[in-house]
Symmetry: C2
Subunit: 748 residues, 2 copies
């Protein structure tokens, strides 16, 4: 078998050297590899080896890694541990090693890798055929190798690729043995035996679908492929059943890979759980799609739903800051970035199967790693051939909802300032009660932060690395976000059922003037009887060193309420234009809805029309100016009360509190300005440039704010609150001055 | 005049091209420039221009800077502001501009720079001859251009250089005018008119001395030179008078530049105020020394006190972490580093006038900047000619005190771990009450921090950029440091008079075994009747991923006391092996001596022989293991109570509290281990490797600690508490085992 195979390759190499265009020597159905690596791809790669630096280096690292593993010997232990324990870690490691060894066999044509894969697979086969459910019982869907089906699915997604790579190396008898005793029952366990895991629209199910589908493609098993694409035939879950996170298991009966593309992705490619989970879900989406593209090109999977899979990669890359770190919307752990391996997959696939966007090459170059497959080769060649261009992140609006009608996320970019305006829908079970919240970045550094999740992923000492209870009691609550909390309760009363049935709506966005980026959205029903509308602009104007933020939050309510509006600034308090006192002892600000986790560190009252606050962070100065009245309270808060395990970061906010108020308008500017160097000890431009913000008018239809700088220049920003289409024309008289414009806003 | 000068230069260049060795064409006394730039240096520089990248780039940046200034025009405003105000900033800027323009005139031979310097100097002359004292009255020694003589002296140190550069460009009449109306009265004002400023051993006086001496050298005025070197003849200050910081003005009558070298520098080159102020004082020390070397070589200034000036540069560079940031000992602002311009001066002078240490070139390359003078040329040529070697920082012990007998600072370096053990003397008025304290770094990042100062230097919003009251109430206090506080009072009762008359003493240091770095020091009289001895080792041992710290603090007291021993860790609490409770409300831990600034955030009691605590910082894991008894209290504290202006950083400590105890021993290990990546989300080696620490014996003469790892390996560390010379031999029987060794400690 081996000799034939080698000869066959020699023939293929000669063949591919004499003919330049790609020719399928044998049909897709029977030639291997065909799933991710393809027979043609292997020929192309071999022809280029030694001549494609990023690829060569990636290959070298993988070879070193796998050679070291082979030297250690094979271990396929009887499963017994949760994540963090040995058997969990070993099986997790094995799936990586198998996939990479398979690839090395194909690329290097060295039999030792094929033998290693075969030997390990045979050990799995030997164990699996009598393996009971995993002994740990915590999961809603127990696996066999792992405590949860999710990890079993991860395993199969990778191992399908390994099997594909050594398919031709194995005898038919060996293949039958593996398929009968390992792969087929494995695929059945995570699907037909675990419908509560498999038969859903959920990132877990996506992994399950991909696992079943990929092994189906390798085995050429149409039943498995169909099960992957469309779900388990004839199985319908209880539509009212809920999962551990409080989400419905399967409210509308949809399932399968196509439904998992259909539902969570908006037409713009925004994934409803947010970028952190999109990154996690990305790998099975893309790698299974790549397999489908290669084996079942007639499905045109990359064109499905108007090409949403490739769009989603662009969306995800745009959901990262200047350093490539994803914005931690919803449950997101800070620091996750496009350097994650899933994004290597995403960038390479997007480049190869998309339109060869040269901007992607610059990210690939930063990643300094490519997939060892056809797409990685394409990227490595692109970089090598000097096609790289910068990946220029611009302002972007990403709709949410499967039809793009459930709010969205607006990213306003202006020079080094990035503002993330979140008016998205609930975000499934990982969503936060943070409607119309925002976060602010300068050069990739957080200025006004989104807290992210309360979890230390995979750090066993912190609740086993799982979600901490503070994720629910703090991180998801409205008061943990830079938006309005009414009467110390969270949006939608903190209830998933309500949140998941409502969402904000885009009012407008306007990015055409490069100096002025604006996004405006509305939300009803976060609180009964209260409507909110937030318009945020990032404005680069003469006289200002850097773009500044203008933030207008309009609240219309049918009764008097208390409104709390925090800004979670990072850094050190520099100055205020109001007096405040500090308490002798620190007490929690409340007893529920997140307030129990805040200490009150300082308390003041505004005594001016504009309340000002400046701070210093990472050598840069920032100033908040907010229109205020003498009843406004100003609170300095700090996170950390009622936190018995020190799970929360002790970070601060300045909070505006407006009591006994029905309709109201919060108007603030945030300026980034100047710098401080501890080396030269020079403070440059350390003060706000804004003398006064003023509400000029505020009606149902228009809100107009004047911005006056220190040297007396005044600009007027008018936003249209009702009709704001690009085409709409507006006429407005303010203080006997006539203003006429067309479009969503006026600024002059 | 100009034509002659140009012809003269042409002659000189030709001359220097035909002869290779340096020849003084005219005597030092009359040729100009001669102070920092020399006539010969200028010839050498011109010959190399365009061929010395770092120099060329530095020159280019300076030229751009000065050309822009010239375009703006000259402004010499009537002085009226404190620092932060316009006139202060302008005069400060002018001194920089004058010095640089003078250098450009010499190097580029472009008359426009000379004219610019002349024009500005004439404006100063015009103003100065009738200028009264500066209107602001806060300083103990008011200047004329600035609110304090210190800044006037800064001005003259720089402007002397400018004057020297254009000396030959000016007519004799012009020189007479400047010297009579500006320089001579200027020098008199900061010296004979301000003896309380000038006639001291203090960094302020050093600036004054250098200013007077440098203008004296340019003017060839022996009286000024002598006044600079030896102080004002016949003036003696009241020996009991004190300055604003509580230090004596001049207790022993010493004054002048030589006394300012003699007193504050130890023979090892440690400056008694610490690295932050050494950096500040460095410039006048070195630039005046360079001038003296050039004009009065017979003084052999760089050999003075066994070459202490050049040694001090080496000491200073060693007092920086892996990133080049100075350890914030005493009053030190974090972030100050060897990228500061004063260190460009220091590195270049050290290289040129010292032994051309190739390690200095690597720092110069990082600085990417050289002085535009003879020394900068030497460095630029060294780098260009490939002589650069890494500046290899090793463990080092730096004695303190003018004779090296007043304690010191030990820096223990072992792979990426740096431990700074401070057993120095009081450190003049900038000292902290922190005897036997330490701080710990990994790869240039703080692990166990020294708080530094409570000040935002030059940030006007924070108390005008001056010292904040929390510097005294918090930063200087013992409880703000990683050492023992007895009965909630600071060392020496927080009194400068007592602190400045006492100091710790080195017991031993041993750096010969590269795997084991040890330093031990003793101190008496921090508290009456209490002696302390601390021995700190950084040990690289088999079975440990990284070097760990072993910390032994032995306290011998004549009565029962309470001992508080904090570790100011940075990062997030991960786990403890003891139970603790958190209070519902946060209260200050005490009401004075720094305790009023600490909140108690958690309280526990040890229930084991070893108390363990782990934390995570910047993606790295750390564990503290400390030998404890069941009466030991464990407190989690956080800085920030009674801080009405948010001047303090809200950072944490874990504090061991031992009550009602006479003699005692605190023994702890600190391990750095593993890593966490938020990109791969993998936690590697996240747990302590130490199973148990145990006191095996503790006598007057010996303390022996056993360290047992998780896999059961036990090592014994014995430190000799009394006789610890390298030659001493020791015999000791512990549990029937005999131990024999020679030297300070035993480890096996």
């Amino acid at each position: 078998m081996l000799k034939i195979s080698k000869l066959f390759f020699v023939f293929l190499i000669i063949f591919s050297c004499t003919k330049n265009e790609k020719i399928d020597v044998v049909s897709n159905e029977s030639s291997h590899p065909k799933l991710i690596l393809t027979a043609q791809g292997v020929r192309d790669i071999r022809a280029q080896l030694g001549n494609i630096p990023i690829f060569d280096n990636s290959l070298k690292r993988v070879k070193e890694e796998i050679d070291a593993e082979i030297a250690l010997g094979i271990d396929v232990p009887i499963p017994k541990d949760y994540s963090g324990g040995y058997t969990h870690a070993r099986h997790k490691r094995n799936w990586v090693v198998l996939q990479k060894a398979g690839v090395l066999y194909q690329i290097l044509d060295d039999e030792k890798y094929a033998k290693y894969v075969k030997d390990m697979l045979m050990k799995y086969e030997e164990m699996y055929k009598t393996l009971p459910l995993h002994p740990k019982t915590r999961s809603y869907a127990r696996g066999k190798l792992f405590w949860q089906c999710l990890n079993d699915s991860n395993w199969l997604v990778y191992v399908s690729q390994a099997y594909d790579c050594i398919y031709n190396y194995l005898s038919e008898e060996e293949r039958n043995k593996l398929e009968t005793n390992l792969f087929r029952p494995f695929a059945d366990h995570i699907s037909v035996d675990s419908p509560q895991f498999y038969q859903r629209v959920h990132n877990h199910s996506t992994w399950g679908n991909a696992a079943v589908g990929m092994i189906g493609l390798v085995m050429n098993d149409q039943e498995l492929i169909d099960r992957a694409l469309y779900g388990i035939k004839g199985v319908n879950l209880d539509k009212k059943a809920k999962d551990d996170d409080g989400g419905y298991l399967n409210k509308d009966g949809k399932a399968g890979f196509l439904a998992n593309i259909e539902e969570p992705f908006s037409p713009d490619g925004y994934y409803n759980e947010g970028p952190y989970y999109q990154r996690y879900a990305m790998y099975p989406f893309l790698v299974f799609a790549e397999g489908l593209h290669n084996v079942k090109p007639e499905l045109k999977i990359f064109e499905y739903k108007n090409g949403v899979l490739l769009k989603s990669i662009k969306a995800l890359l745009n959901l990262s800051d200047a350093d490539g770190d994803f914005f931690p919307l919803n449950d997101g752990q800070k620091g996750m970035s496009y350097y994650n391996d899933a994004l290597v997959t995403a960038v390479d696939i997007s480049y190869h199967f998309g339109k060869q966007d040269p901007g992607l090459l610059s990210i690939a170059a930063k990643q300094n790693k490519v997939l060892l497959d056809d797409s990685g080769l394409a990227v490595a060649l692109g970089v090598k051939n000097g096609k790289t261009k910068p990946f220029d992140k611009k302002s972007i609006n990403l709709s949410d909802g499967s039809k793009g009608k459930q709010g969205g996320v607006g990213i306003l970019r202006n020079e080094n300032i990035e503002l993330v305006f979140k008016y998205a829908s609930q975000g499934s079970s990982h969503g936060h009660y943070d409607k119309l919240s925002f976060s602010l970045y300068e050069k990739g550094e957080e200025v006004i932060q989104d807290y992210g999740l309360a979890r230390f992923v995979n750090i066993e000492q912190k609740g086993g690395g799982n979600y901490l209870k503070e994720n629910k009691t703090w991180a998801k609550q409205t008061i943990a976000h830079n938006t309005v909390t009414q009467n110390e309760t969270s949006h939608y009363n903190g209830k998933y059922e309500i949140g998941s049935q409502n969402h904000p709506d885009l009012h407008y966005f306007s990015f055409t003037n490069k100096n002025i980026q604006v996004s405006s959205a509305k939300v009803a029903k976060t609180y009964p009887g209260t409507d909110m509308q937030r318009t945020i602009a990032v404005i680069k104007d003469e006289g200002f060193e850097k773009p500044y933020v203008l933030d207008i939050m309009k609240v219309v309510a049918n009764k008097s309420n208390q409104y709390d509006f925090p800004y979670y600034f990072l850094g050190q308090v520099l100055s205020t234009n109001f007096k405040y006192s500090i308490p002798e002892i620190l007490k929690p600000l409340g007893n529920k809805n997140g307030y129990q986790h805040l200490y009150l560190e300082g308390f003041g009252k505004s005594n001016k029309d504009n309340t000002k606050f400046s701070w210093l962070n990472n050598g840069k100065f920032y100033s908040l100016t907010t229109i205020s009245n003498t009843n406004d309270e100003i609170l300095f808060t700090r996170i950390g009360a009622n936190d018995p395990d020190f799970n929360l970061r002790r970070e601060a906010a300045i909070m505006l509190r407006r009591k006994n108020t029905k309709n109201t308008l919060f108007v603030s500017s945030i300026e980034a300005h100047g710098s401080y160097s501890p080396v030269s000890e020079s403070a440059v431009n350390s003060k706000s440039n804004i003398k006064e913000l003023k509400v000029v008018i505020d009606t149902l239809d228009y809100t107009a704010i004047s911005i006056t700088t220190l040297n007396g220049d005044t600009k007027l920003f008018i936003t249209a609150n009702t009709e704001a289409s690009k085409e709409a024309t507006h006429k407005l008289t303010i203080n006997n001055e006539n203003y006429e414009w067309s479009g969503s806003y006026y600024f002059k």
